[in-house]
């Protein structure tokens, strides 16, 4: 790919989505656009840039933009934590007095897929168990980036985004189509709110949560910062609650306040309570 091609393609993306692609992300263009090149019968990204400069390339430009701006987040990302949560939420429901809410925090929620996935799961649990249906579930999504929060609040996703992680029956049941996009249905969105929040700031005003999802965030921190954030998360977690980290992340060696829960990698509880459950 020539520098001119890189400039052409990334300028189109910036103009259409505001998304900035840095020169060191050239690999992303290669990998994400490969299927588009193949479908269009184009031999290279340089050929794609030429095609986009020609008339009647509107659809192609839009498709390229969506391929390059699709966030790494996806619905029900990694699958297994949500299956763990599916088993955990009824347990927490039975352990809580009637009338109180189960509080769930999606920390670094990006464009909201994790928060909405949890809300879809809560709806599924409520449909299977009328008792659970009476339980209020509040989901807070926070992120440091205002732009992704705006997108999260809209709850409007591209065709590419909804095809990742969602079974088609869940898609048609929990979303409504708006032209080429899909909007999360109001009853799913109603459980979720989104706020700007820095994980390194004072988190005490958030209160305590029954469940915290903080996945694929700690990998960006150095060890002291990671330990500090884990400590703050432990403070926000109910004694019998669960913290979900990313598949490649661990709280081990980061102090004794969090301990792995049995049965699933990457799920942690507050140490004293987890020890009591083991006894």
């Amino acid at each position: 790919m020539t520098p001119a091609t890189f400039t052409t393609l990334t300028s189109i993306v910036k103009q259409r989505s505001g998304g900035v692609i840095n020169p060191d992300q050239g690999y992303m263009l290669e990998t994400r656009l490969a299927p588009l090149l193949k479908r269009e019968g184009l031999p290279s990204l340089d050929a794609l840039a030429l095609r986009l400069a020609a008339p009647r390339s509107e659809t192609l430009a839009q498709e390229m933009t969506e391929l390059l701006t699709t966030n790494e987040s996806s619905f029900f990302r990694d699958g297994r934590p949500f299956e763990h949560l599916r088993a955990l939420l009824p347990v927490l429901h039975r352990a809580r007095p009637p009338g109180t809410a189960l509080r769930i925090w999606s920390a670094a929620c990006s464009t909201g897929q994790e928060a909405y996935s949890i809300s879809i799961l809560a709806s599924e649990l409520g449909e299977a168990d009328p008792g659970f249906a009476t339980r209020r579930v509040e989901i807070l999504g926070t992120d440091i980036c205002g732009a992704v929060l705006e997108r999260a609040r809209k709850g409007l996703f591209t065709q590419f985004e909804v095809q990742r992680g969602l079974p088609v029956r869940t898609l048609v049941k929990r979303f409504a189509q708006e032209e080429t996009r899909w909007r999360i249905r109001p009853e799913i969105a109603a459980r979720c709110r989104f706020e700007r929040m820095n994980l390194l700031g004072d988190l005490r005003a958030l209160g305590r949560f029954d469940v915290i999802f903080c996945r694929n965030v700690l990998i960006y921190f150095d060890v002291p910062t990671k330990a500090r954030v884990l400590d703050a998360l432990a403070d926000r977690l109910q004694p019998d609650g669960a913290l979900y980290l990313g598949a490649a992340e661990t709280a081990l060696g980061m102090g004794a306040r969090l301990t792995p829960l049995p049965g699933e990698r990457g799920v942690y509880g507050v140490a004293a309570e987890a020890e009591r459950l083991r006894a």
Binding site: K38, R39, E63, R164, A176, Q177
Partner: protein, 124 residues
């Protein structure tokens, strides 16, 4: 589990693209250019899975699905529709006719493999 996938699409480009993606992950691939040819192929040997376009000459995807269901009942292969027909109503029609999953074109390898995994065919 991989297996044999019958790719049914009147676009040679889509067939080639799907074949490339599937063979890379251990699937054996056969092709049919419309629903009629696909029924013929199923009579010769039932595939494990069908990747099915909707709008095709001779016999369209929904017609093929109904015929497949009538001929093989619950023992029919899994069917993933793969079509530009992305309207909610069209998707519901596909599911009603018996599709197990649904890919909206354009798609990429990640989406295709995930949908196949959903109907029980994880890549090698």
């Amino acid at each position: 589990m991989t297996g044999t996938v019958l790719v049914v699409d009147d676009s040679a480009v889509v067939c080639k693209l799907a074949r490339h993606m599937l063979e890379r992950h251990g699937f054996a691939v056969r092709e049919a250019e419309h629903g009629g040819a696909a029924l013929q192929a199923c009579q010769e040997a039932l595939p494990d899975l069908v990747l099915l376009d909707r709008n095709m000459p001779v016999l369209d995807g929904l017609g093929f699905l109904r015929a497949l269901r009538a001929a093989h009942g619950p023992d029919r292969p899994a069917v993933v529709m793969c079509t530009t027909e992305a309207a909610q109503q069209r998707i519901l029609e596909g599911l009603e006719a018996g599709a197990d999953e649904y890919v909206m074109k354009p798609f990429d390898e990640v989406i295709l493999l995930e949908k196949l995994a959903r109907v029980g065919f994880a890549p090698a």
